[in-house]
């Protein structure tokens, strides 16, 4: 009987794969370096090998696996399981779903990082029990996933959740997407670092002067050490994210917002002003019982999300 599910998280530096039984118990997992320089043919074989390995470790035959979930970075053709373009991996039009299905003859489902992370947090992490969940990831970029009744909401062309390119300030800084004032250009990790550097000369007392290279991590470190300037930079970013989040809450009326990505590790110095801004701006009855919480799964979010993807699609 098909009762096992496998999830695979393909990243620029590592491939992580896991298998669960019908009780959601993780039976085995493996992690190997991606070695992007090897090219797609070798890497897709390597991915398949990790799938074979977790089955072997768990003592499970391919015929016992109901579905495989795969999450991938880059521009994707989600329904057809094709990596259209991944700059990190240097992949173009790699038919990942087909390659895996051809090797194992197991239905394989496929989605992008942010959607899969949202689904993972919904099934295994900070959003357990949420029927209307919004996931936001804040790291190098800002992305999102909308999870309704345990499924990813994809929209018309499988693009829903691109919340990093919501305009916060129409005359704001230039974004990588070519527009001005996207929240990603104002409050992502690199934007926080840029904001910190821009006015650092006005703050000779700031601990940030001790660093040769300032990223969001150093801003966080200084802020946690009590540096007022670094704290103010984080608070500004948090409040700006809060403005955008309030709009999303007014639109989607979720019961839970899970915030992940590297920047979310800043903790209270980020979450407190962010939540305060949301409460000022969102419709009061929408925030009364709303949870706004940090992600829980950390580095396992991709593999657990991919497992959840296999489960949610495999159960259709």
């Amino acid at each position: 009987m098909s009762k096992y599910f496998i999830g695979l998280d393909l990243g620029g530096t590592k491939i992580a794969t896991g298998i669960v039984n019908s009780k959601d118990e993780l039976l085995a997992s493996v992690k190997v370096p991606t070695q992007a320089e090897d090219g797609w043919e070798i890497i897709t074989e390597r991915m398949g090998d990790t799938i074979a390995e977790v089955m072997q470790k768990a003592g499970v035959k391919p015929t016992e696996v109901k579905a495989i979930g795969v999450c991938s970075p880059g521009a994707l053709d989600i329904p057809n399981g094709i990596v259209i373009r991944s700059p990190n991996l240097r992949w173009f039009n790699v038919p990942l779903k087909k390659i895996i299905e051809d090797r194992f003859n197991i239905p394989t489902y496929f989605d992008n990082d942010a959607n899969v992370a949202g689904l993972g947090e919904n099934r295994y992490g900070a959003g357990v029990g949420s029927k209307h969940m919004l996931y936001m990831t804040i790291s190098t970029g800002i992305g999102g996933g909308i999870i309704i009744d345990g499924k990813i909401y994809h929209g018309a062309t499988f693009g829903a959740g691109e919340i990093g390119h919501i305009t916060l300030d129409k005359n704001g800084p230039l974004c990588g997407c070519g527009n001005h004032g996207c929240i990603e250009a104002i409050a992502s990790g690199p934007a926080i670092a840029r904001n910190a550097k821009e006015r650092l000369h006005e703050h000779p007392e700031s601990l940030l002067h001790h660093y040769t290279n300032i990223t969001a991590r150093e801003v966080s470190e200084a802020a946690h050490a009590g540096d007022q300037y670094a704290l103010s930079v984080v608070e500004t970013a948090a409040r700006n994210i809060g403005v955008v989040l309030a709009g999303l809450i007014n639109t989607l009326n979720p019961d839970c917002v899970v915030i992940g990505g590297g920047v979310s590790n800043m903790g209270d110095i980020l979450f407190k002003p962010l939540i305060a801004e949301v409460k000022e701006r969102a419709i009061p009855s929408f925030v009364e019982n709303l949870k706004i919480v940090p992600a829980k799964l950390g580095g396992d979010v991709g593999v657990m999300g991919a497992i959840a993807l296999a489960q949610s699609q495999g159960n259709v």
Copy 2:
């Protein structure tokens, strides 16, 4: 056999009711003044009388009606069908669903104006065929409805679609909701009129000087007569709506955006700059095949939407 559906649109000035058969053909409709001053007991009886009247006109018995849909203004308890508070009607906690079900013994479904208008446009109007539709209404306020697979997306507490209170400019004008810079405070009908009046003294040539009372309607009239200042006021509002709409498109990835409400009657002078702004800001692949169109149902949107509500809920 139950194969008919009835829709009732309760407004501050009129009650409009219609009945369709299983082929979506409108068999009968009636419209009567609400006479809000009569109070809820008489008005709810009057509503019931219009339901009885359309059945009689169509030659349909109550047992042949599968469901009734009702749309109402004000703050609502949607699942329980209670008008919690309607300032226009001066109603508080009126159990509308129960009153109608008690009289006719027909399942009755209940929703707010914007959601029902969106559903109506989706089934009978400008959004026919859309699987992921966003409805936006621009009139005294700005509201919205999200229609996914022919159903209203309600969110966790039945509030989804409150897009008028998305912040466009966090330091912008005060909104009725108490916040600053909501799109409703910047580009609704009253906001357009206010914007026009504010800088009118700088434009002695403007046709708007000929009006004693300037509302969005006069601004539209002057703009259509070629008044450059009035045109610029409309364009600014349209572009501001476009910025917010682009964010919604990036989030929801709809295949169709239908824009209704009085301000949408301005036509091209509104739609052209609005669509231009959306195309500048939304993710290109999301707008490639996206329709952004004016609503089609006009004054009938409430009753046709209420019929669609009866159909979509009655078919569950």
